[in-house]
Every structure is written in C-alpha cells, then in structure tokens.
C-alpha cells in the first residue's frame, strides 16, 4: 500500500450523513425505548434474584458507570487516561474514612467522596493537562501507583492492612445507588454528545491548536471534563468499599480496573454515547462465563481484545452498527433546515489603527525569527505581507494571535496591548486567523466546525444564527452536513474562512490562503474577501506568495526578509523597490 493510500480508519466517527429520514427517526425511537426498558428491568432485578445475581448486576452497573466516566475524558476530549482507578481508590478511601470516623451515613459519605475526588481532579488537571496526550496518560498511570504507595504508608488509612468497615448488609440500596451513578455518568455523556460543551471537547480532541484559534477555552474544557470524569468512579469506589466492608491498597488501586475500563469502552465504541454501556454490558456478561474456565488468562485475553479492536474495528461495536444506520451521532444543534440569515451590512466604525506592532522581536533558541518589526494596519485596509520562506511571516501571525510569545516588543489590537491576553481570548475578542494548511475538525461536519467558532460567548440560538450566516457568506450552505474531511481543497479553505467569519472578527489574518487553489477557487475566495469589509471586519492582513492573486485587493504591501521589514507601500511602489527586487523578486514582475 502506498504512503498516500494508507489511512487509519477514523476512530471518532463524524455523523455519517444527514440522516433525517423517517427510518432514522424510527430507529432512534426504538433505541430510546429499548434503553428505557433496560433501565426499568435493571431497577427490578433485586426483586427476583439471588444474592449472587444481584452482586453480578451490581458489578455490571459499576462497570457501566466507570466506562462512561472514562469516555468523558478519553473519548470525547481525546486525552487517554490510564489511571482512572486513582479516583476509584480515592472514593473508596474517602468513604471508608468518613464512615469510620464521622457519624455520616454511608450514602452521604459516598457523595462527599465524589466531591472530594472532583476537587482533586480539578487541581491535578490544571497541572497535568498541560502535558501532551502521551505524558498525561503516563502521568495518570503513575498517579494510581503513587496513591497506592501513599495509602500503604498512612496509618490513619489503615496502612497495608487496610480498613474494616462496619458489616452492614445493604446490597439492594447499594445496587440502586450504583444504578444512580451509572445514570449520572450516562447523562453526562448525553450532555457531551448533544451540547456545545461536548463540541468544544471534541474540538480539543481533533485539533487543540485550531480550537484555540477558534476561541475555545481549551484548558477550561479539558480540566472540566477531567473533573467530571472523576465523580462517578469515586461513587463506585465508595459503594464497593461499603459493600465489601473491607478496603486495602491493592483492592482500592487495582490496575485491572484500568484495563477493564479501556477494553469495555473501546469494544463498545470510544467517544460515542452508547459505546461504553454496550461494551461494558456485553463483555461483563461474556466474561462472567469465561472466567470460570480461564481465571489466569483474564488480563491477557482483555489485552488481546484491545489490540484486536484497535486493529480491526477501532470504532467499536457502535462503529459497526453505524454503518447500518443504528446509533449514529447527530450533528450538534443542527436545525431541521438551515436558516437564511439576512444581515444588513455594517461598515466598521471609525477609529484608530486596528493592529499595531511595535519593535516585535521573536527568538527561538539562537535563531532570530523576527527582528524589531513594526507595522500598522489601519481601519478599512487590506494589507499583504510578502517575503521568502523563512522571512518570518507565519511567526508574525503566531505572535499576533498568541501562539508564540514575543521576546521583545509589543502588539496592540484596537489600541489595547494583547500581551496579557491568552490566545483563545484574542480569538474571542476579534482576531481571526486561517492556517497555511487547513486545520479542520475531522470528526465533525461542516456545520459543527463553524458552530464551534460561532459559539464563543453566545447563546445557543444566536450561535446557530451566526453559524448559518457564516456558512452562507462562504458559499458552503449547501454542504453544511457534509463531513469536513471529505471536502475538496478549495472548499476546505472556504470552510476555514467560514469559521473565521463565525468569530465575528475585526481583524482577519490569512496565512497563504491562495496556496494550492485553482483559478476558480482563487476567484471564489477573493469574492469572500471582498465581502468581509461589509460585515464588521475592520482590516485584513494576508501572507501570500501568489502575488498576482492579491495585488489588486491590497491597499498596502509589506515585505519581510529574514525577520526584518524591508519595504512598505502601495503594491506598485513595493514591487519596483530595488531592495525588494534584489532580495526576493529577482526580476521585474
């Protein structure tokens, strides 16, 4: 297989098609009905089963709760955590400690333990989620081990011997509480699957850098998802500790639990609404039969299953069912029909320079990428920035948008220094940018890509309107429910523009937006660019090589060479400047 043709089947499936047929509606109704029946049946289990069956049911429901929680951080947000057991253990110990040392009854102790677990996750998350995905996964793995060691050494937690809880047999209330935990975790997943919060999480998963440029507060999103994922495991841990009336470090921080959670969710379908529950249910039932025969191979078989699923059908059972039209994800907040928004054109207000860069210097190690560059973009202007590769054009954009911190100098946006403002906030305040290679969210539809940008700080209905308008402006309204990935390069560029428009920007930074475009596509983009000024965009700055495509659109041209500004003026003057000719053009254009 050639390099190009080898593609990994997408794990996180976008909604496969605009499935609005009546068949689809029937399927959804059936699914909802089946779920209701299953939950009702589960609730009635205690009425007619033996102690053994009740325990089995409790274990199954516990697994469902754990799998759903893991799905929040690892499936929706894309940060694989191989240490969820840490929260299980925290919940177990906190509950045990509260029950033994305070008069609080066990059911409140469990809730308190969950709150504690969430708080710890919140604190940990702010540190650990700064790390790249892999290091986060390892960090969590390490955390679970450390906590085991800590528990072993703290005598008030029983040390290596463990804690013994009062032996009260309350299997039915525990079971019902477990159902409550599972439902809670499921509800969180449903919230993620249908809300803009979940959309933001998926944006973080697909391309965190691009999400920042769209105004998504990625750190907040990650940390919150992480904290939410810590709640149900703590409840489950507390309930298990209470049920067994005994707790020690190995049982509280049992690494097998991590494997189980991963296997169940992966098998069912990671990042989906129904996957974790389906996977946990099926594998627990199958496992129950299997482990009677092969107790020593449990871990190995689960490990093999993980490998097999990843290699053969990474989308899990839900991925397979999706192909037959079942359990498909629906595009988030997509209206039945895309509304046509008529916005009256609004010219930009009067005012000073939109963007001012003063003596900006950026150094990477020993290389000076930008050397005391100063420029201004006035209201109503379109400025082109040209220069050879390595001249510093993209670094300039990165410094303005906050992706790179300047070593010296300052950037002012609408008269305000941007230095203290983080990148996502700059996007929210009106600095929009495109990337040299379009960075689209692969697991989302065109609609959702734009909605993500449109959502910032807006109410749902306003965001929907804004997204619809942006799509219309970019000429993509007809393709709104297509998968972003499958668009032609020209349409992908326009989707990037639509996303920028959805931000309602005052300054638009275009990074080689004409590269790789056919003549027709260039004309389409030029048409969009001309419209920008009529909708509140105060100024446009574009980095370009395809000079012919932008010369007539530009009011001014700035030339960068090796990090320094070497010329500035109207296109005619600049393109004739001897220094520009010598360093960049080589001959008269």
């Amino acid at each position: 297989m050639s390099l190009e043709e080898r593609r990994i089947e997408t794990v996180f499936q976008p909604p496969l098609a605009a499935d609005r047929s009546s068949a689809a509606r029937k399927r959804r109704a059936l699914t909802a009905g089946a779920t209701a029946i299953v939950i009702a049946a589960a609730a009635t289990v205690p009425l007619f089963s033996s102690a053994y069956l009740l325990q089995l049911a409790t274990d199954i429901v516990a697994s469902i709760a754990l799998a759903y929680s893991w799905n929040l951080i690892s499936g929706f947000t894309g940060y694989l955590s191989f240490g969820q057991v840490a929260f299980f253990g925290i919940g177990a110990y906190a509950t045990a400690a509260l029950v033994l040392r305070t008069p609080i009854p066990w059911y409140f102790a469990v809730i308190a333990a969950a709150v504690l677990s969430g708080a710890i996750a919140l604190a940990l998350g702010t540190v650990m989620l700064r790390l790249r995905g892999i290091m986060f996964a390892l960090g969590m793995l390490g955390l679970a081990r450390i906590l085991g060691v800590v528990a072993q050494n703290l005598t008030f937690l029983g040390g290596a011997v463990g804690l013994t809880l009062p032996a009260e047999l309350t299997p039915v209330p525990v079971y019902l509480a477990m159902i409550g935990a599972a439902l809670f975790a499921f509800a969180l997943n449903a919230f993620f699957a249908h809300s803009r919060w979940g959309l933001a999480a998926m944006g973080v998963r697909d391309d965190e850098g691009a999400a920042v440029a769209l105004g998504v507060p990625t750190v907040r999103v990650k940390v919150a998802s992480f904290a939410l994922s810590a709640l149900a495991p703590a409840v489950v841990g507390g309930l298990v500790a209470w049920n067994r009336s005994f707790l020690d470090p190995p049982s509280a921080f049992d690494p097998t639990l991590d494997l189980q959670v991963v296997v169940f969710t992966l098998f069912g379908g990671i990042g989906t609404l129904w996957g974790p529950g389906l996977g946990a249910l099926v594998l627990m039932l199958v496992g129950e039969q299997l482990w009677a025969f092969l107790p020593e191979l449990q871990l190995a078989l689960y490990g093999i299953l993980v490998i097999a699923v990843v290699l053969a059908f990474p989308g899990g059972c839900v991925g397979v069912l999706n192909r037959f039209g079942w359990l498909r994800r629906r595009p988030i907040l997509a209206p039945a029909v895309l509304p046509r928004i008529d916005r009256p054109p609004s010219e930009a207000r009067e005012g000073g320079a939109v963007l001012e860069v003063r003596d900006l210097t950026v150094r990477f190690g020993g290389v000076v990428a930008l050397d005391r560059v100063s420029l201004k973009v006035e209201r109503g202007e379109t400025v082109s920035i040209i220069g050879a590769n390595g001249a510093g054009k993209t670094t300039l954009f990165n410094a303005i948008t906050g992706f790179v911190a300047p070593s010296e100098g300052s950037v002012l946006f609408e008269g305000m220094a941007v230095a203290p403002i983080p990148a996502f906030e700059r996007a929210r305040r009106g600095i929009g940018r495109t990337f040299q290679i379009p960075r689209l969210m692969e697991s989302m539809t065109v609609w959702e890509n734009v909605l993500l940008a449109a959502s910032n700080g807006r109410r749902a209905d306003r965001a929907v309107e804004q997204a619809a308008w942006a799509l219309e402006m970019a000429g993509l309204a007809a393709l709104w429910l297509e998968t972003a990935e499958k668009l032609t390069p020209g349409r992908q560029r326009r989707l990037e523009l639509a996303r920028v428009l959805a931000l309602d920007p005052k300054l638009v930074l275009l990074d080689e937006v004409m590269a790789g475009m056919t003549r027709e596509e260039q004309d389409e983009i030029r048409a969009v660019l001309r419209r920008l000024k009529h909708f509140g965009v105060a100024a446009v700055a574009g980095v370009e090589h395809v000079i012919s495509a932008i010369a007539d659109l530009s009011d001014r041209m700035i030339v960068l060479d090796q990090g320094r500004k070497i010329a500035e003026g109207t296109p005619e003057t600049v393109l004739r400047d001897p220094q520009v000719i010598q360093s960049y053009l080589g001959e008269l254009q």
Binding site: M1, A388, P489, G490, S583
Partner: protein, 246 residues
C-alpha cells in the same frame, strides 16, 4: 548507472506514462494520463493548481499506486512499485515540499542520497553537485532545518542528484521561493541534461519553463489537454489564456 545512455536506453523514452488513473481515498485525480519524456531532455508538465501535476509525479515516484495504466522507465515497468524501489531503479524525486531531514546536516543529505549510487561514482557526483550549487558547499555542516528556503531547495535537488538518477522528477521547484532563487534553479537545468539526466518538471508558469524545455504537456482536471513545444504553445495566445491565465 553510467552517465552515457546505453544503446538500448536510447531507444526507449526515459519515461513513458500510458493511461494512468490514480487518486487517493475516494478521490480520483488522474483520469487516464499519457505522456513521454524523451531521453536526455527536459519535459515540462504545466497546469494550474489542483490539475494533478503533483499527483502524477508522486505516482511516477511510487508514493501513490496507480489504479490503471502503465509507467515505464526506459522500457522497464515501474508502475505500482514501492517508492524506495522506484528510487533504486533510477528515479530521483524532488517533492514540492522538499522533504528534507531537518536535524541532519547538508553533508548527511548528500551521503544518504549517495547510497543509491555506485561507490566508484560517488566522488564525481559530489563534485558535480557542489559545482552546481556552490552556495551549499559552504554549509555542509549546517543542519538542514536552519537553511533558507532557496538553500533547502538546492539541498533537495542535490540529494536527488546524488542518487545518480536517470530520470529526475522536479515538482514545482519554484513554489514558495523568492523569484530570484527560482531563476538560478532554472538556469541549472540545461547543465543537468549535459550530464545525462532526463527531467520531468512540473510547473505553473509557462514563461519560466519556456527557456529550458523541449516539450510541454498541459494538464487540466487530471487529463492532458494539449502538448507540443513550449514555443508553439506560448505563441497560441488562446491556449495561454484558457489554460494558464498567466
């Protein structure tokens, strides 16, 4: 691979592409493309962005497997062969993104390219390459990632030349480069011919290609729509306007 074309090589075109269909994933980019590169000549492939020039070059280089059609290098069928084997057969590829090794030195690049050349030829090739690109001779120890765009393109071409290719595929060498640098690269092409290398050059601008090529093909939407000598094509104003707009 000797510098003088063998008798049998002179009978076959350096490259013969026949009815090649290729694409990736669900997209088909090339819809039955045929072209020839005569031995010892520069052939130019023109077309706007998105026409399929890079796809064609990558298919010849083995990075994309053709779905139909034949590709022959001096008569030898190479269609469908893996990229590293195509390189070993004598095809040098300078991709549009240059694709250098950022943390290896210029000298390392030359050395890695030379793996494909016969040991006896290596000193001669190196001398030739440094003669063509004196600017990089002073930067042999420098890491490729720290070079300027123009220098990187030179290293990319040098690396491909070190493999002692019979056919050189140049994919839009001018893209993203200062026009001044582009000129110097085009001036180098005729010297390659005198060293026995046939060249297939993909370009957007007819004007740049005029001076160096003996034959030009115009690609549009994955099909060859015109071919002829560059002078004849350029003289036809309608052609120029319709297909290139430049």
């Amino acid at each position: 691979m000797s510098a003088e074309p063998l008798a049998q090589e002179a009978q076959h075109p350096a490259l013969a592409v026949a009815d090649v269909v290729a694409g990736f994933g669900p997209l088909t980019i090339l819809h039955g493309v045929s072209l020839d590169v005569a031995s010892g000549s520069v052939t130019v492939l023109l077309g706007a962005n998105g026409a399929g020039k890079t796809t064609l070059l990558r298919t010849v280089a083995g990075l994309i497997a053709p779905r139909a059609g034949e590709i022959r290098l001096f008569g030898e069928a190479i269609g469908g062969r893996a990229a590293h084997l195509v390189a070993r057969a004598g095809v040098g590829h300078v991709p549009s993104g240059r694709e250098l090794f950022p943390r290896l030195s210029v000298a390392d690049h030359l050395e890695l390219g030379a793996r494909l050349a016969q040991p006896a030829r290596r000193p001669e090739l190196r001398e030739r390459v440094l003669g063509l690109f004196p600017e990089i001779a002073t930067r042999l120890r420098q890491a490729a990632g720290t070079l300027s765009g123009g220098e990187q393109m030179m290293v990319a071409i040098a690396r491909a030349l070190m493999t002692d290719p019979r056919l050189l595929l140049l994919d839009e060498p001018s893209a993203g480069l200062a026009p001044k640098v582009v000129l110097s690269i085009f001036r180098m092409l005729p010297r390659l011919l005198s060293q026995g290398v046939s060249v297939l050059l993909a370009e957007q601008s007819l004007r740049s290609a005029l001076s160096v090529a003996s034959r030009a093909y115009i690609l549009r939407d994955g099909r060859i729509v015109l071919s002829g000598t560059p002078a004849a094509l350029a003289a036809d104003a309608a052609v120029v306007k319709a297909y290139l707009g430049a």
